[in-house]
Symmetry: C2
Subunit: 126 residues, 2 copies
DNA sequence: TAAACCTATGTGCATCATGCACTTATCAAT
DNA sequence: ATTGATAAGTGCATGATGCACATAGGTTTA
């Protein structure tokens, strides 16, 4: 439970990965917020991402120049805001990838330290 | 740059790992805040952790029953608050480990998806 | 002895991201 | 006309952090 806690607990999982994940999804296939929410929640079952979080991240990323939006008519339903990634967005994605690699390494280091401890029997298993 | 941003940018690295890292350090060797700050900043060079963040996390964890503190005299210097981990703290550490394993997996999944894309040449390398 | 410095702990304020709940709006179907 | 799915968004509260500052004990030095 960290950051905007509740039973969901963004302290984990998709935590702080929303921006790069959105950028990657948009890079793969330019689309709109509603579908991104579907993709997100289909991808990580159980881990529901708040619509508000998606929409706010999209608007913020547009403000920062990582994506561009354009209104698009739907065959059946209200108009949607379709997002495309920009050059800056691709750059931001690359930087995020580098940071995530570092983060993964840090987590691995931590987990290894923990395992060393349990292996030595300094801590019980159950 | 996420959460309390500035040039430091906790959005990465030690991001949201402070609590489990502190618990692990204290489990290995009960100690006080100031030394934990040293350990932290020695461990991850370049990534400076704010003293305020450490102290606040320690007090919070004590309020939640994960650690216990006791004042202790120093040979040379002001008294320090020495922290010991509790059973609940060990439990919390174990839970954090599980979540970090999940988080690591998510990062890996993401990085693999990204690599698939670059491998297909859908995105330039530089 | 006073000033300067290191050790040690902490707080106040601003910023940022998220969860939860709610609102608005379009379109289709009943 | 009402209901329901699609689609986008906002307001408020909560929580974590950075930065700067405050406080205080102890040691060293001028």
């Amino acid at each position: 439970m960290i950051a905007g806690k509740t039973e969901n607990g963004a302290g984990v999982s998709v935590d702080r990965m929303i921006q790069p994940m959105l950028l990657l999804l948009i890079l793969k296939k330019p689309t709109h917020g509603y579908e991104l929410i579907q993709s997100f929640n289909a991808l990580h079952e159980g881990e529901i991402v708040e619509p508000g979080t998606i929409y706010r991240n999209l608007r913020r990323m547009e403000k920062e120049g990582f994506v561009l939006s354009s209104w698009e008519a739907s065959e059946s339903g209200p108009a949607r805001r379709k997002y495309d990634i920009t050059e800056d967005g691709i750059k931001a994605l690359r930087e995020a990838v580098l940071k995530l690699e570092q983060q993964k390494q840090q987590i691995e280091d931590f987990l290894n330290e923990y395992k060393d401890l349990t292996a030595r029997g300094d801590i019980d298993e159950n």
